[in-house]
Symmetry: C2
Subunit: 200 residues, 2 copies
Amino acid sequence: MKIYVPFKPTNPKSRLSKIMSEDERREFAFQLLLDVLDCCEEAVVLSASRDERLRDLKHEVDERDLDTAVTSRIKKEDSAFVMSDLALISKKIVKKFLDTDGDVVIAPGRKGGTNMLLSRSREFYTSYHYGSFLKHVRIAEKLGLNLSIFDSFYASIDIDDESDLLELMLHGKGKRSYEYLESIGFYVDFSEKEPKLKRA
Amino acid sequence: MKIYVPFKPTNPKSRLSKIMSEDERREFAFQLLLDVLDCCEEAVVLSASRDERLRDLKHEVDERDLDTAVTSRIKKEDSAFVMSDLALISKKIVKKFLDTDGDVVIAPGRKGGTNMLLSRSREFYTSYHYGSFLKHVRIAEKLGLNLSIFDSFYASIDIDDESDLLELMLHGKGKRSYEYLESIGFYVDFSEKEPKLKRA
C-alpha cells in the first residue's frame, strides 16, 4: 500500500495567524509533517508546490487541486492518504489503519473532515472539504464499495485552530511539533476547570 | 462489571444557553442520557440530585461531589463510568471499551477530559475536571497500575459547546439527541468550506 502525505507549503495554518507569525506557522507546519512521516514508513510527501525543505524527503509535486492529485493516484494502485497535520497519530495507529479491512477506509476528523483515507478500489474518487467525510461515505455507498470507518481520537485531531493546539499540548509530549510550540512559549494553564492554551 | 452513568439534572449544558433555552437544554441533556443508556446494558444512572424523570430508570442519587461518588464505588467493585453526554458512542464501542485489558482503562475526551473510565483495581481514585485525563494517567502510574488508553473519536465527543453540537449533527443521525436538535430547528449548512451549525 503506497502512503501519501498531502502537504501545502505556502501560508499554512492561516487560522493561527493571531497567535503565530507566518514564519512560525511555516516552521510549525513542517514539524507537523515530520511528525507524521515518523509514523508512516516509506511515505511520499504529496506537495502542492515546490519547497526547498522537501529536497531530502521522498516527495512528488502535484500542483493540481487536492481531489485531482489524490484521485489520480487512487486510479493507479492501492493507496493511503494521511493528512500532514495529524500531530497525535503513532506508528501503531497508522499500522492498525492500514490493516483495517474494506475497499475504502476513512478516519473522521472534527468538523466533518477526512483525516486518513485508503482505497483498495480503482473506482473510488475523493471530494475533500465542505464536509468531506459524509461525501466520501456516500461515494463509497453509491459505488457499492465496502466502507470501514476507523474510529480514533488521536487520528481525529488535525491542527486548524487554537483548540487543536491545546489537544497537541495536552497529548503530544515528545513530538517535534510539541517541542517546537513549547520552544516558542506555548504551555497549558491548568488553573481553571478546563485547561487553557497560553503563550508566554 | 457494573456500569454507572454520572448525570447532573440541574441547569445542564449552560454553555449552550446562548442558543438553547433552559427547558430545551434540560430536555436535550435527558435525550443524551437516554442515548448513552441505549448503549450500556444494565447501566445505573448516578444522579447528583433527585429527578422525577429518572423514576423508571435504574438510578442511584448521590449528592456528594463527582470524585467522592465515583471513587466510593471503585473501592467496592470493578466498575465503569460512562459520561451521560457521549452522544456518538455505540453498543459496539462500549463493549470494546469494557473488553479492553488493564487495571484502569480511560477514553480521553477533548480539552483533557475523561469521557469513559473503568477500574478493576480497588486502589484507584478519580480526580475529575482541571484536565482529568493527565491526572488519571499520573494516578494510575503512581499506584503502579496497568493503564490502557481507549482511543475512539466517537467516545471523545462529549457535548459542551456549539462545536460539539456540530459533531452530533454530522455523525449522530438516528440518535434521540440528534432527532431532538433537528426537531427544534438545528441543521448543518454545508455551503462553506467547513460545515456550520445553524438553527432555523
